[in-house]
Subunit: 236 residues, 2 copies
DNA sequence: CGGCTTGTTGATCCCCGTCAATGCCGGTGG
DNA sequence: CCACCGGCATTGACGGGGATCAACAAGCCG
């Protein structure tokens, strides 16, 4: 286990509140796992034996609907975790997980964790905290879907992705536009049109690279009432 | 504390996995609280000191958006709980809670619970289980919003509300249609039209009383591909 | 009775999904 | 080296679902 990965684990959402000594002891039972882009980690319905922390890359969580299509529940990257619920309760995974890019995940047996929880209340509180955070994210997501247009949701996504919080910036999109669209609950065509709308607000895209003239303009857009229709500006 | 309320607490989502002796000891520190319809329990931003279990009635959880309107996050009834996250983490409530009907809630100080968690791992596991369940509900809700029409969401709501699982039935709507609409993420006008659509599938409404000819017909509707437009049938 | 709230209905608009055509890019094989 | 091809992104045309605005009916309570 490299020092760098240790740092990632220590600052992960799941483990950030766990005392260091306890954590170091916990993760001796885990193992690193590499995933090639497109590789499946587990599928919906599998018996849940492990929980995971993303060390690098991006992984996609999706649910298979009866109608056949699958909908994207979340896309996680470095420091985020998944599978805690199913694994600790000894159930089955409610989602399918696959790598959206070449990725590395850290895998911990649920049995070890749940034993540790029983003997260490701090760990229990830390796990509760992590779950509550997940919970809060979901509530925000519901709020987002119910009250925003596609362009506003895209703006939210970009703001979260930006390396700074104010002024101009430029960064790369982490994965395919198709997956971004699914993550935002829309079709690729709508994503394209949303980008076109944002062009009028100082957002340009060139081959997976985004440039934002002013992040505050974007933030204002998110909270704005559905503004008057704006003309999309043609590509390039 | 009446025997009846004790039963409700013991079978509540939050406490159902907690050993009886421990639970009985826990709730000696709590208190019952009556809410008149429309009364506010706490508002978004309040310091979170207690968590709550609904003993009777219906309470509404909503979030105030910057744009002024508030959106309904959830509506809870007997046996459901809220405020665990904020209270245990010592934060502030992220939502406003008010009674949608005359209601009774059970109020437990977070300090007592978190002390109990530290000394009793079973309680920790039970709380984790409750939170995970809550989590799963939220995921289902997201799935519901993303993939269903207004009429399908209404059908889901009615099926969950029905006192039986098959065949015909009749029951009362628990609260205002306006709130039902908000709960389902739509406007009152749309709810009205959704009811009109369901009339063709054996659903009639008369002053807050719903009659369903066949619940299985409704369930089939929920999973159906977006069927061909059906003519709404006029009211009465 | 007359105001007030709540629910229904109609007309219209806008966002987004669908279907289809085109353009851009990377990879493959002659 | 370049022609060809398949996948992804963009753009246009069209339709449907729900929001909005407005009118109206039905209870409720003074």
């Amino acid at each position: 286990m490299k020092q760098y990965d240790l740092e990632t684990l220590r600052s992960s959402v799941l483990f950030q509140d766990v005392p260091l000594v306890l954590l170091d002891q916990l993760i001796t039972h885990g193992s690193k796992r590499r995933l090639a882009r497109g590789e499946t980690l587990f599928v919906q319905g599998d018996k849940a034996l492990c929980l995971y922390v993303v060390l690098d890359g991006w992984v996609k969580l999706s649910r298979l609907k009866q109608s056949g299509e699958d909908i994207v529940v979340a896309v996680y990257t470095k420091g985020e975790s998944f599978g805690e619920a199913a694994a600790l309760m000894g159930g089955i995974y409610p989602v399918t997980v696959e790598a959206a890019e070449d990725s590395i995940v850290y895998q911990v047996s649920a049995k070890n964790i749940s034993e540790a929880i029983r003997t260490n209340p701090d760990l229990a509180m830390a796990m509760l905290a992590a779950t509550f955070r997940h919970n809060h994210e979901l509530v925000l997501e519901i709020e987002d879907i119910k009250g925003h247009t596609a362009a506003q949701r895209l703006a939210t996504f970009l703001v979260a992705l930006a390396p700074v919080t104010h002024g101009p910036c430029s960064f790369a999109l982490p994965y395919d536009k198709g997956l971004i669209a699914a993550r935002l609950g829309m079709k690729p065509e709508s994503l394209s049109r949303s980008f076109a709308n944002l062009r009028a607000n100082g957002v340009t895209v060139q081959r997976g690279n985004v440039t934002v003239n002013d992040l505050d303009t974007l933030k204002a857009l998110i909270n704005a009432e559905r503004g008057p229709k704006q003309k999309p500006i043609p590509h390039t």
